[in-house]
Subunit: 207 residues, 4 copies
DNA sequence: GATGAATGAGCGTTCATTCAT
DNA sequence: AATGAATGAACGCTCATTCAT
């Protein structure tokens, strides 16, 4: 029986409080003291669970990558048609960013020296999450649904586009210079068109 | 070391030193004292020329928007064929970002509360720079070179894509997860393909 | 309005307060905050006058070396007989240490990494202060009062002895394991004896 | 029984790790956590074996005094000629300091409030180690080899000199302002000369 | 015997900014 | 037009130590 029920998992509390503070105040204004204040513990306690501030953010980054990976796998797994899988991937990726702005920002929008997270490792993780899209592309090609032979680059280009979309929305959440939903539809549409074949660009079963 | 004879000299020096420091040390490590030290004056002197740090960065942002605008106009002006104008626009936009990473970052990658610059005003400026691309699209449509009727959104989507491209390269300059040049060619190619018509997707005279 | 009188020379106040705190609490317990509190200013103000803690201590070390130098010159200058000059040097050196324990400690008893002062520079300064003793030795030899040809080493050995004497007294000010005054007389006596010639070891006119 | 071995084991490990850390990082940078990390245990475990940091250092100081005592006895015991015994004492004392800088520093160069060790007790111990030198002096006098009647003070003066020598070398190990070996020979020589008798200062059989 | 968890106190330092001059 | 001097607020972090387990 635990007497300190409200103290259970300070490590978890720290991570959550950090996410919450990052969301409300941004990376620049995150401080160990504020995190501690948010939880009700003292700043040095954080150092028991994390070596330093960078390690704390790094832990969040890793959580983010794991979540992203599982979400991408799950999203793609809902469909069998490769183009649907691809669209599902794109939409789920965007959803991940919109639902988890803090994760997305520290994963992909923070300079390495600010997050303390090795960017190479970050991209290695990101590539793992891209795999479902690459495989979907491959399968689509095999089925003659798209004309592309450079699946990796094609997926990279999609990632770039979705990153641009998310980066703008997340950076200016209240002042997005475009209609997010309509723009996303438009973007996805253009992606498919760009891989279309002749007059019948793609045999796409819309989600 | 410049002399202090020039009246407007210090203001200019401050702006230049700020850009230089932002380039070498990043936004996070920029401080009024460092700027002053770089120039050889004292921190309070900066306050004579700029109300505060935010105003200083804002001045740089405005400079950046002016430069971007003139570069975009100039780039498009070199061609008459609308698709060439469009491609020139895209390439010049990317070039602007790569050549002026500091401008690009404070213009489009800094949160409003960090730059102190009104994001709405920022997008108003950005839209001005997008005008040449929009007009090129319109003309291309008029000439039957592309099948698009939503020129603004199409241009927005291009901006999103190029922003994603630049954001990644600028954020991880030494660890870009793709080959910048080849990816840029690929992206531009896909943009045109996505607006192609039937079996002959576009009549594009490559630059 | 704060008059110039009570604010004059915060830099000087900082140095004095630092010396005072070093005396009462030791190097280990010196902190920028305590210095500030002693004076009545705030810790950051110290940083206007000294780059950091090491620079502050270094400034004191330099002061100490200057004081030592002038005291040694002055002490030796009071006599013409070289052996008297030598004795005066030794007694004045000890007096400097006893009167200025803080100076002595930071000059000669602090590890380089604690004082932030280059030990080589420190010894260069110390050697300057040793010059009067070396010259006295030389003159004593010329006059046939002592039999020594290695004046530098002889002076070095004296310095070592006096340092041992001071280091013990200063480290255990209340518990010195010997009678300071008598021991000093004894030491000086032995120094002269060790340089004596035959049965009439030295022609010394006691001070 | 395994328990007993373990019990004394960690205590011993703590002492050794502390010595090692003191050697490599200095007193200032010694911390309970670092000691624990060095061993592979946690900081609170140290408190099972030592009441606090001061007690831990005190234990080392005591070890040092024991070692010094046995080394001095042993060194002097190798000779029968009292002057040789005296020289052996001096050389062994210096050797102890050079070979065991950490012991020497915490025994004789640390302020009482830093070591937590009663300085009076410290000097009581130190005097025990001086006994062989005092006795050698007495015997030398008895044999007419030196002219001294204050053996205790004479030995004290020697201790002061050797302490000065060691304090400088240990404090500036890389920047000693004199040649250690030659200076030691010189010092020992002067000690004997200072106790010499008339034209034939001492009948010393060099070691 | 040892540790997981936590904390109060404190550290050196940096910062944007102010204001009298 | 610029600066000398100062400050309130905060920062990341380390420390010796405690205490329940």
């Amino acid at each position: 029986m635990k007497t300190k029920t409200d103290r259970t998992g300070l490590r978890r509390q720290i991570l959550d409080a950090t996410r919450s503070l990052l969301l409300s105040e941004g990376v620049k204004n995150l401080s160990m003291r504020k995190i501690a204040a948010e939880i009700g513990c003292k700043a040095p306690s954080i150092y028991y669970h994390f070596e330093n501030k960078a390690a704390l953010i790094q832990a969040l980054v890793e959580e983010g990558h794991q979540l992203l990976f599982s979400l991408m796998e799950e999203a793609v797994g809902r469909y069998t048609d490769p183009l649907q899988r691809l669209e599902a991937y794109m939409r789920a990726y965007v959803r991940f960013g919109l639902d988890n702005p803090v994760y997305y920002e520290i994963m992909f929008m923070l300079r390495a020296d600010e997050s303390g997270y090795d960017p190479i490792e970050s991209f290695r993780q990101a590539k793992k999450s891209q795999a479902p899209a690459i495989e979907a592309f491959q399968e689509a090609e095999r089925q003659g649904l798209v004309s592309t032979d450079d699946f990796i680059r094609a997926t990279g280009a999609i990632g770039i586009m979705l990153h641009g979309y998310l980066a703008i929305i997340l950076n200016y959440p209240e002042n997005s210079p475009f209609q997010p939903d309509e723009m996303l539809d438009y973007i996805i549409d253009r992606v498919f068109r760009s891989h279309g074949i002749g007059g019948e660009p793609y045999k796409r079963h819309r989600l």
